[in-house]
């Protein structure tokens, strides 16, 4: 999947993947795609909750080796 920006949260624990994902989205424009990579297993549920509460669309999730990959479409 194509993306406009990438944020690597590998090695970070809660709440940093979410808090820094929010920061990464700040300078993006509506409709752009952010790719987030995280190794914290808790980020799977948290990224979904983040998307639901902020209105950003979690368009795709996947796994890449031991990491989790998320594609967020900015609201």
């Amino acid at each position: 999947m194509n993306f406009d920006k990438e944020f690597d949260a590998s090695g970070l624990s809660c709440p940093l993947p979410i808090v820094k994902t929010k920061k990464a989205l700040n300078d993006m424009t509506s409709g752009q795609i952010l790719r987030v990579i995280a190794t914290d297993p808790g980020s799977c549920a948290d990224m979904k909750a983040f998307a639901e509460q902020t209105g950003n669309d979690l368009v795709e999730t996947g796994e890449q080796g031991k990491a989790f990959v998320f594609f967020l479409k900015k609201k």
């Binding site: 624990s13 709440p15 914290d40 983040f50 902020t54």
Partner: protein
Amino acid sequence: MSTKKMAIIATKGTLDWAYPPFILASTAAALGWEVQIFFTFYGLQLLRKDLSDVKISPLANPAMPMPVDMPVFVQALPGMEAMATMMMKKKMADKGVATLKELRDTCIECDVKMIACQMTVDLFDFDKKDFIDETEYAGAATFLGFAGDTDVCLYI
């Protein structure tokens, strides 16, 4: 959808108890919530510019996981608190847990309001110069004015 709000009272000043207010506040702020933390009694230590004195103690904390079984009288020996703090900080760094300073800075960046309880500041003769510049000073009525209108209100 109206903006959600959260109010937290932070009353503890040890390393372990310092995390919940800052974790919840920074996450809520990332979700777009409006957040205020009211620091009172020992929680005031978390507003200091220098957070290096925030410690954890194994004493009177039987639930704290220890690498080896340690009788209480050993936990009370001089230096044990410093050692436990050092070990905890190292473990946190190894696991990618944010430092307190990092979380607090994030809260400030996201406009989390930090309010120090004026009464306890006076009670302990704390010097306002030691606290971060973002600190505001107020009392119970100010906190309740905000807390009465929140979706989540926590006492930590």
